[in-house]
């Protein structure tokens, strides 16, 4: 479904990612691990079209999307739940969800999709009229995921969804991720939380200072000594 080939990208001409290649099959739940500053968010923002790579290619269902705008990629179904959730704080939960479904592909079914999201997150239904900025961190994460589902994501990319959440909420959010995966959604899960991700993902990539250090099934990655050293920066 997604193929990244020899991606080099960075900021102001200084590369942050060096020759990153990665593959995601349809319906897979793949983890992208890495310590702080490894380049995970940079990669995901290149996939979303917020930044364009210096070289390399991104293929989505065989189509070259490397030079497409962020908007065109959302229209294709490449949707991101950003790090730090980035809900629109001064807007109600309902407005946030409506904005999630603002792309041309999703817009015609916004009402049904909203019902679907509210079934998934009953908590959001109770808070529909409340400003997103007044929600707790866990509720904001629900909203951020709900908003991405409103966009009718076909490839859902989550950037550190566990960040700053209480263990109980982390469990809940990962339960939701599992459920979405079972329903057939293709998911790229970006995390720092090693053990948690290894438990939920089928395959993982470990990013170390802008390079893929380890890749393979979660068991393989778990037992590879390079995984731990990538984390400790040894």
């Amino acid at each position: 479904m997604l193929e990244i080939e020899h991606l080099v990208t960075g900021y102001g001409g200084v590369p942050v990612l060096h020759d990153v290649s990665l593959k995601l099959g349809a319906g897979e739940l793949v983890g992208l691990l890495g310590a702080n500053n490894a380049g995970k968010t940079t990669l995901i923002n290149n996939l979303s079209g917020i930044f364009t790579p210096m070289s390399g290619r991104i293929l989505f269902e065989g189509q070259d999307v490397t030079r497409l705008t962020a908007r065109q990629r959302v229209e294709l179904g490449i949707v991101q739940v950003p790090e730090g959730r980035m809900v629109f704080p001064e807007m109600s939960v309902r407005e946030n969800l409506l904005l999630g479904g603002i792309n041309q592909r999703a817009k015609p079914h916004r009402a049904q999709q909203m019902e679907h999201v509210l079934e998934l997150f009953p908590r959001l239904r109770e808070r529909l009229g409340q400003k997103a900025g007044t929600l707790s961190g866990g509720e904001q994460q629900m909203l951020a995921i709900g908003r991405a589902l409103m966009a009718e994501a076909r490839l859902l990319m989550l950037d550190e969804p566990s960040l700053g959440l209480s263990p109980l909420f982390v469990q809940y959010i990962f339960g939701i991720i599992d459920r979405l995966h079972k329903e057939g959604l293709t998911i790229l899960l970006v995390e720092q939380n090693l053990n948690l991700t290894l438990r939920h993902a089928q395959r993982c990539y470990v990013l170390e200072r802008g390079r893929i250090a380890v890749e393979g099934s979660s068991d393989v990655v778990k037992n590879d000594p390079r995984t731990r050293s990538a984390y400790l920066g040894l």
């Binding site: 917020i50 908007r71 959302v74 950003p82 629109f88 807007m91 409506l98 999630g100 603002i102 966009a151």
Partner: protein, 288 residues
């Protein structure tokens, strides 16, 4: 007492149009961080276009608006896309420079076409008066008030309950997140700027009847608009309309109770006073 009521009425009526002017500037600032120092010169442009249409076709300014609004909206879109957009994200002062330059271009362009003589554009309602008890108000002012408030309410509803309005607010609150929703941020910024300039064309027609115009007046409108926007807290809808009323009222009181030149200074005095006590502007919480 009559004089007082008179000044108050006039101030409220004109102030609503100042509020409308400032809403445009506030929206643009909200979505792209651009403060347009040629704002007042676009008002001039709108007014002189009305004058031109009067000379050529004997059109009333209110009728001319049907032509000037779409034309100015289009000009706004072109100016943003080709001149301002490439500067956004660079140093703030570069955009200031650019819009100041634009101000000079507009001002001198108008001077070249229309000459420097003060001019008037007659309107059929120009000298009509409305008498409410002791207070006598000019009909053009009443029209300006009604239209300005209707447009302000329309804008408010648009921002609250349409996808375009929500896109504007989304870009204001978090442009990166808006882009991730598939919103074309640059396009929203361009349309908002165009909308702001289109509003100026309406405001120009509203302010025109009975007002002598000259090419160098733009700066005065820019400054008044800036006062209102800053008073209102830059992006707060209600605050900006309130700021418009305050500046309009202080201007009216200044010209009625004080000498002409001193009176023109009153709004600035009031502005400084308010900012001393409420540097964050008039409003208590953001409504966007």
């Amino acid at each position: 007492m009559t004089e007082f009521m008179q000044a108050l009425a006039q101030g409220v009526l004109i102030g609503s149009t100042y509020g409308l002017l400032a809403l445009g500037m506030g929206l643009v600032y909200g979505v792209s961080g651009v403060v347009n120092f040629s704002h007042g010169d676009f008002i001039s442009l709108g007014m002189f276009m009305c004058l031109g249409l009067y000379s050529a076709l004997a059109l009333d300014p209110y009728v001319s608006a049907v032509i000037t609004v779409p034309v100015m909206t289009a000009i706004g879109a072109v100016v943003y896309w080709y001149l301002i957009r490439p500067m956004v994200g660079h140093q703030f002062l570069m955009v200031v420079q650019l819009t100041l330059g634009l101000s000079l271009v507009l001002q001198n362009g108008i001077l070249m076409v229309f000459g420097g003589q003060p001019a008037r554009t007659p309107s059929m309602v120009e000298s009509k008066l409305l008498i409410l008890g002791d207070v006598v108000v000019r009909v053009p002012h009443v029209i300006a008030f009604v239209v300005s408030f209707a447009l302000a309410i329309g804008l408010y509803v648009m921002l609250r309950s349409t996808d375009f309005g929500r896109s504007i607010r989304a870009v204001h609150q978090n442009a990166n997140a808006a882009a991730l929703m598939g919103i074309d941020v640059r396009w929203v910024q361009t349309l908002t700027f165009a909308l702001g300039i289109g509003l100026l064309a309406i405001a120009a027609a509203l302010l025109l009847p009975g007002t002598p115009i000259q090419p160098a007046q733009g700066l005065r409108y820019t400054v008044i608009t800036l006062l209102v926007v800053v008073l209102g807290g830059m992006t707060n809808f209600v605050g900006i309309m309130l700021g418009g009323l305050i500046i309009g009222i202080s201007e009216a009181f200044g010209t009625i109770y004080l000498s002409d030149t001193l009176g023109m200074l009153l709004p600035y005095g009031i502005f400084v006073l308010i900012m001393l006590f409420r540097p964050q502007g008039l409003t208590w919480s953001s409504s966007r």
